[in-house]
């Protein structure tokens, strides 16, 4: 029997489409459509003492696009967001919103809506007063403020909560009010600074779908900072992976997952195996007894490398006709529809392989099998063994 491993991550990527579906009764009015403006970051540089937070960050975001800034802690994603918001200034570089250079424009004149990680509602104001705050600052008439606050609270699914104070709302509700407040001023850009990280898993899933729905309905250009790859992959049109203040890759979620530009991106997004291989002639690498084409940088012939392979990029064979590298199942982890196997090859390497749970029933710890990779191009990284 030959079993082809399958990924569970693609499910979350596909859910973007579901999240994007319009919700009944909440269609945006024409005046709600800000039309979306482009955002351009040009060579942004920022240091805090000896630490470089941003090291020449370049990023173009098209009107109406949702881009997620993803990366490990300290990669500079929050600094980039704060520079866009105007809360930090860049040491060098420029920031253009709709073609206008706003690098030196103070935060309160940028027309940017922001939702923060911590529930940032004003505790002394009701939900309606919070939503209407930006309009009050703009000296909008009281009736207009009240109408807009009611309209937006309904849009975020909180009708009838106008008079509630923040402490009377749950975390999810508070973030909805914060979102309504950010949208009330019809911002040119919407910034989301890990808005879901303080919420529990169920509310988080629900709210991320709603945020995406609203963003698509209103067509608002959005930058979303997160360290949660699943969140980024499921919500964003493009994901910008950052590392040490630099952009590693900015691509649509499926491209990022399937064709990562660098080993860092490959390992940061999803799960990745590192298997020993040797580079052969004409840009191919030999791994698990097969030759595969290399994509990206390829060291010279004969060099020893780590070959990066997804768990679903490995085929697990059992039975007498089995071919490939012999291996033993060490751990089988049931993950619902998928079972993840931790395997040790006879040559001493370790690999993870995902396969449908019904096919993995016989592959209990101690079971013998063989491993072969799919024929897709792979990333390699030179190593000294």
């Amino acid at each position: 029997m030959t079993t082809t491993a399958r990924t569970d991550t693609t499910d979350t990527t596909a859910s973007t489409g579901t999240a994007a579906a319009t919700a009944p009764g909440t269609a945006a009015t024409p005046e709600d459509q800000p039309g979306g403006v482009g955002l351009r970051l040009r060579g942004l540089q920022r240091s805090f003492g000896a630490t470089t937070a941003l090291d020449g960050l370049d990023l173009d975001i098209t009107p109406g696009e949702l881009v997620a800034l993803l990366g490990p802690s300290g990669c500079g994603k929050t600094t980039a967001l704060r520079i866009i918001a105007g809360f930090e200034s860049a040491d060098r570089g420029e920031l253009l919103i709709g073609g206008e250079d706003v690098t030196a424009v103070p935060a309160n004149r940028r027309d940017i809506g922001m939702v923060f990680q911590s529930y940032s509602l004003f505790p002394t104001m009701t939900a309606a007063e919070n939503v209407a705050y930006g309009l009050r600052v703009r000296k909008a008439p009281k009736a207009e403020r009240a109408a807009r606050a009611g309209e937006l609270l309904e849009l975020v699914g909180l009708p009838g909560r106008e008079k509630h104070y923040p402490h009377q709302l749950s975390g999810g509700q508070q973030q909805r009010v914060a979102l309504a407040r950010a949208l009330a001023i019809r911002p040119r850009i919407l910034l989301l600074d890990e808005p879901l990280s303080a919420l529990d898993a169920k509310v988080r899933l629900q709210l991320r779908e709603e945020i995406r729905r609203l963003q698509l309905e209103l067509g608002i250009t959005t930058v979303f900072v997160t360290h949660d790859q699943e969140e980024a992959l499921s919500m964003a049109d493009r994901v910008a992976v950052m590392r040490d203040g630099r952009l590693e890759q900015c691509a649509p979620p499926n491209e990022l997952y399937e064709r990562p530009a660098t080993p860092f991106v490959a390992e940061f997004v999803g799960t990745m195996n590192r298997l020993p291989g040797v580079v052969r002639d004409s840009g191919t690498v030999e791994v698990l007894g097969r030759r595969l084409p290399v994509h990206g940088e390829c060291p010279g012939s004969g060099r020893e490398v780590d070959v990066l392979l997804r768990p679903e990029g490995l085929k697990v064979h059992t039975g007498a006709e089995a071919q490939g590298e012999p291996a033993t199942v060490r751990v089988a982890t049931f993950l619902g529809g998928v079972t993840r196997l931790l395997l040790s090859t006879d040559s001493g390497a370790e690999a993870k392989a995902d396969l449908p749970s019904w096919e993995a029933e016989t592959l209990t710890p101690g079971a013998r099998c063989t491993l072969t990779p799919h024929d897709n191009p792979v990333l390699v990284e030179e190593v000294a063994r």
Binding site: P106, N108, G113, F116, P123, Y133, V137, R181
Partner: protein
């Protein structure tokens, strides 16, 4: 059989907090016995029984009204100046200069360890420069500083003396608020720095501001040393003077001042607590609705 296997009912023995009651009783006695004794002293007229003559005389006395009015005006001016000085300072330190927090704290605590007599000695020395400045524009400033009807110098000294109270209250308020995020949220919505201070920061710090104001006001109303040494006669100094020749009136005035101070404190606390009470009332009305919704 069922009876045999049933879990025996455990009766929780509730401990009676006798110790706490005793402490509370002792504290109450400590505070109330002197007040009650003073009250008895003011109303007990040997031979005539209980009379409120001392209070009537106090209310008719022009000196009491003048000195009490001066004390209240000094207190309000001190609170206003202290808050104007401390609220923006502490907000700026919390948001922009957190490294200076310790420096500001130490500076604000100095008046607590400095005896008022030492402070007033320095102030007296500075005020004595007036004679040397007779021909300069500064002379008028010195005149205004120790104007008998409203001595600004006392407001300045009291402001310094109120710094520890204001600092402690505001610091507690700032620590309990995510000020940075609130300010950034307000700024991103288009508010200016001043607008953010007035619409977001001050309302959020209101309980802390009121607490600092109440403590400062109480301090000013009871302060004696500085005013007496500098030769002014606010309420505390007047009471001591009156005590020299009419002890019962002096104590009656003290009782009245206690009532007035409590009244002022209650007024301020209520002014600050209005919104909080409304919020609490709303919280009680909505009950646990939040638990069932997302």
């Amino acid at each position: 059989m069922a009876g045999l296997t049933a879990t025996p009912r455990v009766r929780r023995v509730r401990k009676r907090p006798y110790g706490s009651f005793l402490v509370l009783l002792l504290a109450a006695l400590y505070f109330l016995v002197p007040v009650a004794a003073s009250l008895w002293f003011t109303v007990d007229d040997p031979g005539k029984g209980v009379t409120f003559g001392a209070y009537a005389r106090g209310l008719r006395d022009e000196g009491m009204a003048t000195s009490l009015g001066l004390s209240i005006r000094l207190g309000l001016a001190t609170v206003a100046l202290g808050l104007l000085l401390m609220v923006p300072t502490m907000v700026v330190v919390a948001l922009r200069l957190p490294r200076l927090r310790r420096v500001v704290e130490v500076l604000c605590m100095v008046p607590l360890i400095m005896p008022p007599v030492a402070l007033v000695a320095g102030v007296s020395t500075v005020l004595s420069w007036e004679q040397d400045l007779a021909d300069t524009p500064l002379w008028a400033t010195f005149q205004a500083l120790h104007n008998k009807s409203f001595p600004l110098v006392l407001v300045l000294v009291y402001t310094v003396m109120s710094l520890p109270f204001l600092y402690r209250s505001l610091d507690g308020g700032l620590r309990g608020t995510d000020l940075k995020t609130l300010v950034e949220a307000s700024r991103s919505l288009g508010a200016s720095r001043l607008g953010t201070l007035c619409r977001v920061v001050v309302p959020n710090l209101r309980p802390a501001i009121v607490s600092g104001a109440v403590l400062s006001l109480a301090m000013v109303l009871g302060e004696y040393t500085v005013a007496s040494v500098l030769g002014f006669e606010p309420f505390s100094v007047w009471m001591v003077h009156v005590g020299d020749y009419e002890a019962q009136l002096s104590v009656a005035a003290a009782m009245l001042s206690l009532l007035i101070t409590w009244g002022l404190l209650l007024l301020l606390t209520n002014l600050a607590g209005g919104r909080t009470r409304n919020r609490n009332r709303n919280r009680n009305r909505t009950g646990d609705r939040r638990k069932t919704t997302v």
